[in-house]
Amino acid sequence: MNELGSQQENKRKKNIREISPIDVYKLLPKTNCCACRESNCMAFATRVVNGELTIVDCPPLLTDEYRDMLGELTALLTPPVRVVTFGEGEYSIAIGGKYVLHRHEFTYHNPSPIAIDVHDLMPEDELLERVRQIERFSYNYIGRALAPDAIAIRSTSHDPAVFRQTVKKIAGISKYPLILCSFDPAVMEAGLSEIPSRHPLMYAATSENWRSMADLSLKYNAPLTVFAPDDLSLLRTLTKTLIESGVLDLVLDPGTFTENKLSSTISNFSLIRTEACRYNDKLFGFPLLGVPFAVWAGEEISEDVLKWREAITASMLLSRYADLLIMHSIDGWVLLPQLIWRFNLYTDPRKPVSVDGGVKILGNPDRASPVLVTTNYALTYFTVESDIKAANLNCYLVIIDTGGLSVESAVAGRILTAESIATALTEYKVKSFVDHTTLIIPGLAARISGETEEATGWHILVGPKDSSGISKYLHDRWPPEA
């Protein structure tokens, strides 16, 4: 099929789903020393295959005695998409490391960082304010802070001295990982030499500048992006050449075309990732960079429309294999859905995001305080919890184990039922907390209120459909009239 054959190499390597715990076990010390805190080596192997532990969690493997086995295990478990890191110390980010094409086949690792751009002709106060904005943006989602992750510095001046100054300023005020963007090696070197320890990602090597960029990548030990817009053969050519040149930490940019070539963009990303994950192709086995920023280089139209398009492009690229994004918009309505979608996409599809069932005491409730019910889907639980905390309410929250389903799904799926509520009330000894027997169930569970009253013997009140309404609800309705 391919006269050069490189696409067909390494087909024999096992896919992560084909690797059995036995394959891993065979290469472990098999001493059942339990230094990994698992009960034996086989248990450890199983968790490694499930992606819950990594081989370096086995201390003996890191000793000289097992060096060969560590090497074999590493080869066995190396993902088809290479892990590339940039940034310094605790601020460094790993990208890539994907094992599979679809998240349901295993799970995706290394959530795609979102880098926001600045450029070297921005007035200083604007530049500094933008960096502050990038660092300030955060959204609390089910108990976790979601935020952009990196800064891409573009050279629009094409002047090494100007670029150097800008890189210096930003590195001085921010520890965020940096991406240096210029096609001019002189400009690139000016930036790299200013921050030798920051390990920035270089953007980008092209068919024109690849030799100089390869040299800089090696000299400054910085990973290098390969840019071959809408030309997958050129992308392979460049990647092959750079690997031969000794540059192994590569990131691929096949171009983000957002207008009449949107279809090729999605198809290029898909083809590259398919070759890497399904056929273990080495030249495409690198993280992919998506550039939703590209909409700003397209048609000159209203800013809001461009932001709208950038949001759409970013979201599609997150779903279609981008391991890193460079964006321009820092408007909340553009970033928020990306940050949430990224978080969701990288959760383990094999288990629902859930918290433990039980009774959560919020604020300082007493024996007359309200008792509310919710489910153990993490999003449901944390949303309810944060609404109650934000309103400074004192109450007991009974968390029903619905296997990680939301109230609506759990009611529809007959998991949140009169019986499951009754069982939870008994199991968690809810009666011991209060002197009343009034229970507030979620508005979305209204239809089981009658049955629940019968099954529990508690008086049931139907609360609001959205937990943002709990504060007002309790204000109006608690304590209930006798």
Binding site: T241, S245, T274, E275, W308
Partner: protein, 411 residues
């Protein structure tokens, strides 16, 4: 480099013409005046003077070790062509006069032979279509959605007309919400009358939404099916709850005998989806079954919907006939996310934008997983999703040159 394919230019203009419409639909947002002009490449400072490269290359060549390549080592990309044994069934909604109904046109969905938009190597199936919602009673809607329908909210026929004429709906969904025994308990006869009014108001295919009660829905669907003989309505939906309530058979038979289709609804569980389809095959041809695997809002579990659709489509293409049906997504469900409708701190932007982008992204994410029919509400989301479907469906031979130089854009 500046020469443009005239055909492509036309497309650019068409796309540009969407922009003012989009802005208009995003009401309440401060509008920026449109500058509707095509820029010439020369006007942007995009290109690095070529002299630069040689000078720099010389400066760094001394770093090179002799072993390193000095020329590009050519390689070629030849994609593996994956052959899928399965194919998604084609289902036709609506019937024209010549085929026993009264619709102005019919719509066929499905027919995919490969995962959605993964490559150009497989012939595409029918492009996805969009249905807009109408309710048979005034419903509580997020403020941003209500804005566009407040004048017609009490008049389902007028609402349907507006969806088709103003917002270009391919299909109209009439949700017979008032039939819910816990709401108005509207009679099946009354519900059928409402459907009749909609059939007269618009000539696009219709989806008939029930209230979710397995017994009442069956009564309503049977009545509607009889009244609208031969119209190929899509009855939304039939469920395993109906099987349990022993009403599934009556609906499936009514759909079969009166020339309609059924939407098989299950909650994010492929075994249930297969089981429901198997039960339906006893009564109705597979070419009359569409699946709803459940659409959850972005932020509330969209990833479950995304993965269930990817799994279902892949299994179907690999030969699982029980899953080889077109799939539908209720993108309107995106509005269940508080991030879509709630007033939030200013840094998260106005809900007038956050709401419609939420619905848009919910739809587009699932578009990539293979959805054939979207049920939607916000006109800006509808416009955008239609535009994206169009752009993903064309091969677009001429790359946009400017985008190659995004690094140099001064914004």
């Amino acid at each position: 480099m500046t020469q443009k394919d005239p055909k492509n230019q036309l497309k650019d203009e068409q796309i540009l013409s969407l922009a003012p419409q989009l802005l208009e639909l995003l009401q309440g947002v401060q509008q920026v005046e449109l500058e509707n002009f095509a820029m010439d490449i020369g006007e942007l400072e995009l290109f690095i003077p070529t002299g630069h490269f040689t000078a720099v290359r010389d400066a760094v060549t001394n770093l090179q070790t002799p072993k390193r390549p000095v020329e590009l080592i050519p390689d070629h990309f030849i994609p593996h062509i994956m052959q899928y044994p399965g194919k998604i069934r084609e289902v036709t909604l609506g019937a024209t006069k010549s085929s026993g109904g009264s619709r102005g046109r019919t719509l066929t969905i499905g027919g995919s032979t490969a995962p959605a938009y993964a490559d150009f190597l497989h012939p595409a199936g029918h492009p996805p279509v969009i249905a807009l919602d109408v309710f048979d009673m005034p419903v509580s809607l997020p403020k941003v959605l209500k804005e566009h329908v407040k004048d017609v909210i009490a008049d389902p026929a007028e609402w349907a007309r507006m969806n088709v004429k103003k917002f270009g709906a391919d299909i109209v969904t009439i949700h017979l919400m008032s039939t819910d025994p816990l709401i108005h308990n509207t009679s099946p006869a009354q519900a059928a009358k409402t459907v009749e009014e909609i059939l007269q108001a618009v000539d696009v295919p219709l989806i008939i939404g029930g209230c979710g009660d397995p017994k009442k829905d069956a009564d309503v669907f049977c009545e509607v099916a009889k009244m609208a003989e031969g119209e190929r309505l899509l009855l939304n939906s039939v469920t395993l709850d109906m099987a349990e309530a022993k009403t599934l058979e009556s609906v499936a038979i009514a759909a079969r005998d009166h020339g309609h289709l059924v939407l098989a609804f299950t909650g994010l569980e492929l075994n249930n989806a297969k089981e429901l389809n198997r039960r339906l095959y006893d009564y109705i041809p597979p070419e009359r079954i569409v699946m709803d695997l459940t659409t959850v809002a972005l932020g509330y579990g969209l990833e479950y919907s995304f993965s269930i659709h990817e799994r279902a489509r892949y299994a179907a293409l690999m030969g699982d006939g029980e899953l080889a049906h077109p799939v539908i997504s209720a993108s309107t469900n995106a509005w269940a996310a508080r991030e879509a409708w709630m007033q939030m701190a200013p840094e998260y932007g106005p809900r007038e934008l956050r709401g419609p982008i939420w619905e848009t992204l919910n739809a587009i994410t699932l578009l990539l997983s293979g959805i054939d029919l979207f049920m939607m509400m916000h006109p800006a989301a509808v416009l955008t999703v239609r535009d994206v479907i169009h752009r993903l469906g064309e091969s677009g031979q001429v790359p946009s040159i400017r985008i190659r130089d995004w690094v140099n854009v001064r914004v």
